[in-house]
């Protein structure tokens, strides 16, 4: 009995050590695989860095106090990155694609406002797509109302009275970067385990493993542990980047580590299953890279799933990524992204982990050397 256990442990240890060593021999690939999440983090930051604010030129043909107040109202509209220019400069900037709108305050703005006469503010828009164009179309009327609410509070009496759920707003980058941690774990786990397993088939060393007297369970556990160990490097790098570069400090450290490792187990098992099924590195690589980013975006990376469309909610809930993101957002920001609670989400992940480990083991057990 004791001898059997020792033998099993030795097989696990040997398989694990071999896979870790092989991974580190494939330096280029291991570095690329490990740094992909950092790359994605950087790209996503680039994507959101200016996305919410329309670069807009304001041509101030009137510099009276009301015109200035109108400009201030535009600044506070959460919609524009403003710069004051001449009409010619504005036209050139718009044509060259450096700005997306030109707002022209007419020369008689103040005079007409004082006399309570209609005033037309010219708005020229580079109407590239409706999403961004509509943001501008909404933001100008918002600026007009805000201007009146401040300049003539007795005239414009309907105003929003906001009450926030959290004392502090969370910006795009701190929110998104936590979701990217899950992408890092996903890619790290699937790539390491999937390629490790597929490589055994490609190089036909799987034949030797399957014909050896070692149990298939111990082999699969050893292989998963190997991928898990290398995947942890990716996990540590992304967590370090979050804390040191982005400045996001976890509220619940235990949850970050615990749920991070649980998520890694899931994707290591998923990768092992893919590697066993495809027995070739090319489709494993393709599926890992090709599905990870779209699945990540689909799974509530930018906000709670329930705020998106029912179709996206339905698809996302079929995969563990959405639950992992919900748990990490709780761990870092104390946010609740769904109604399952921490325990419920964790249970779902445990379920996925067990199911995938069993599936991977079954797939390997059913594999034969004939392949």
């Amino acid at each position: 009995m004791l001898h059997n256990a020792a033998s099993t442990l030795r097989v696990i240890w040997a398989c694990m050590k071999k896979d870790v060593k092989t991974s580190f021999r494939e330096r280029t690939f291991t570095i690329v695989g490990t740094l992909v999440p950092i790359n994605i983090l950087f790209l996503m930051i680039l994507f959101v860095i200016g996305g919410g604010y329309a670069p807009t030129a304001v041509v101030m043909n009137d510099r009276g106090p009301y015109a200035q107040q109108f400009y201030q109202a535009m600044s506070g509209a959460h919609s524009f990155r403003l710069q004051q220019t001449s009409a010619q400069e504005a036209e050139a900037l718009l044509r060259s694609g450096h700005i997306v709108a030109v707002v022209t305050v007419p020369t008689d703005f103040d005079a007409r406002i004082r006399q309570n006469q209609p005033v037309e503010v010219g708005v020229q828009i580079n109407n590239l797509n409706t999403d961004f164009t509509n943001d501008i179309r909404r933001a100008i009327p918002l600026s007009i109302t805000s201007f009146y609410a401040k300049a003539f509070p007795h005239l414009v009496t309907v105003v929003p009275h906001e009450q926030d759920a959290y004392a502090q707003d969370t910006d795009y980058v701190p929110y998104l970067s936590v979701s990217i941690l899950v992408l890092g774990i996903m890619l790290g786990g699937v790539l390491q385990s999937g390629l490790g397993t597929a490589r055994e088939w490609e190089s036909a060393t799987m034949k030797e493993l399957l014909l050896s007297p070692a149990s298939r369970w111990s082999m699969i556990v050893g292989k998963m542990l190997g991928a898990f160990t290398v995947g942890m490097v990716s996990l540590i790098i992304v967590i370090a980047a979050l804390i040191l570069l982005i400045g996001v400090w976890p509220v619940h450290w235990g949850e970050v580590i615990g749920f991070g490792l649980l998520t890694l187990v899931i994707f290591v098992a998923w990768g092992t299953l893919l590697g066993t099924l495809f027995k070739n590195r090319t489709p494993v690589l393709a599926l890992s890279f090709g599905t990870s980013i779209p699945l990540f975006i689909l799974s509530g990376a930018f906000g709670p799933l329930s705020f998106t469309t029912p179709a996206i909610q339905f698809i996302a809930q079929l995969f563990p990524v959405a639950y992992a993101i919900a748990l990490q957002q709780h761990a870092f920001h104390n946010f609740n992204l769904n109604t399952y609670g921490v325990g419920g989400n964790a249970l779902v992940l445990v379920g996925y982990a067990l199911a995938l480990i069993i599936l991977a083991a079954v797939a390997l057990r059913r594999s034969t050397v004939a392949h």
């Binding site: 280029t28 994507f47 959460h78 020229q124 828009i125 009146y148 910006d171 690589l285 393709a286 705020f307």
Partner: protein
């Protein structure tokens, strides 16, 4: 003359061989299409929710102004609204089904008519600035429409006179199709070229090619052409499918400029792929680098979002990414039937394609020599 015929014959054989090998491996198609389809699927499914946050609307005032405000919230097209009682709204909010509860207070009509401050209560789940700012913009927008509805009696006299730079608005989903084609061309060309080239080293068939009495330039030309043809065919196929589905419909001569842009992006990515494959000589790192590199270029060239909204320094980086010009040339041809800056775009793409093919040739020659 005989030499030229021999050269073309070898190019044709290499080209045919590479296309056949590619066709034998359906997984190659998956490698190229999965990322592009993934992005397209997200755009298709998510467009409806973009910029329209779910909110619960509680109307406590049944007076004329309260009801008018309620209708305006519904018609404003800035929310996905659920009319609810206070309890229902609270429950939706707690279950994270809505971003905010908007409450029109019971004395709203009375206060508006008395010209007293009439706040509309907005309780926001501000866990993410993206959604929070949408609400912060959308509620005042509805209030603005409330005042506009009063016509000449409205106290708000300032109005917006809109003038659009382009002849038509493009829907978000339609807009995302062209960058997706550019992504597909990039991934397709780089991966096809990279895998086809590195495979020769991995399977050691490069040895046979080297020992054969064929000019190396013919081998390299055949490889680049094979990858170019595959990638170009995929790009054109997607453009045609887009046209059939009504997403991308260039008019008349603009089919030609769209096709030319696709051809140049395909040639550039094929050249890069051959260079990468010959430099790395291993399929695994080639696929990894090609995938992440292509997505990188896709993002930087304005594949997600609109480049004009990005900060200046990011726009400056984008000017050095050839895909920016490919995307622009396609957009102008397909959406606006225009040749605005087409000369610049085609010039940059041609130069980039030539540089990429030269890089591929150089890397292949070096690889063969080593």
């Amino acid at each position: 003359m005989a030499q030229l015929i021999n050269f073309l014959h070898i190019v044709w054989i290499v080209l045919k061989k590479d296309v056949r090998v590619w066709l034998r491996q359906p997984v190659n198609l998956a490698v190229i299409f999965i990322p592009a389809l993934g992005f397209l699927l997200i755009s298709a499914l998510g467009t409806e929710a973009v910029g329209r946050s779910p909110v619960a609307l509680v109307t406590l005032d049944q007076g004329s102004k309260g009801i008018q405000m309620q209708h305006i919230f519904h018609d404003a097209d800035v929310f996905r609204i659920t009319d609810a009682t206070q309890e229902q709204a609270r429950s939706l909010y707690n279950e994270i089904r809505v971003v905010a509860i908007i409450t029109i207070p019971a004395d709203f009509t009375q206060r508006v008519e008395a010209h007293q401050q009439s706040p509309i209560d907005v309780e926001v789940n501000n866990l993410n600035l993206d959604f929070t700012n949408d609400i912060r913009r959308a509620v005042p927008d509805a209030i603005t429409q409330f005042y506009q509805a009063q016509g000449s009696s409205s106290p708000v006299k300032v109005t917006m006179q809109e003038q659009n730079l382009r002849s038509r608005d493009i829907e978000l989903f339609e807009y995302s199709v062209l960058p997706t084609i550019v992504l597909l061309l990039t991934i397709g060309g780089v991966i096809n070229g990279g895998v086809a080239t590195s495979r020769e080293w991995e399977s050691r068939t490069i040895k046979e090619l080297l020992l054969s009495p064929t000019p190396r330039s013919a081998l390299i030309t055949g490889k680049v052409l094979a990858n170019f043809l595959i990638t170009f065919a995929l790009g054109v196929a997607v453009l045609l499918v887009g046209a059939l589905l009504g997403w991308t419909q260039p008019q008349g001569i603009y089919w030609l400029s769209a096709g030319l842009s696709i051809a140049l992006v395909a040639l550039m990515s094929s050249g890069l792929g051959v260079a990468l494959g010959a430099a790395l000589q291993r399929m695994q790192p080639v696929i990894a680098i090609a995938n992440s590199g292509s997505v990188y270029l896709f993002f930087l060239a304005g594949g997600i979002g609109v480049l004009a909204f990005a900060p200046d320094w990011l726009q400056n980086i984008a000017t050095f990414i050839p895909l920016t010009y490919g995307r622009h040339a396609l957009e102008i041809a397909v959406f606006y039937s225009s040749s605005d800056l087409l000369g610049r775009d085609l010039l940059v793409l041609t130069a980039s394609a030539l540089v990429a093919v030269a890089l591929g040739t150089l890397a292949m020659r070096r690889g063969i020599a080593s």
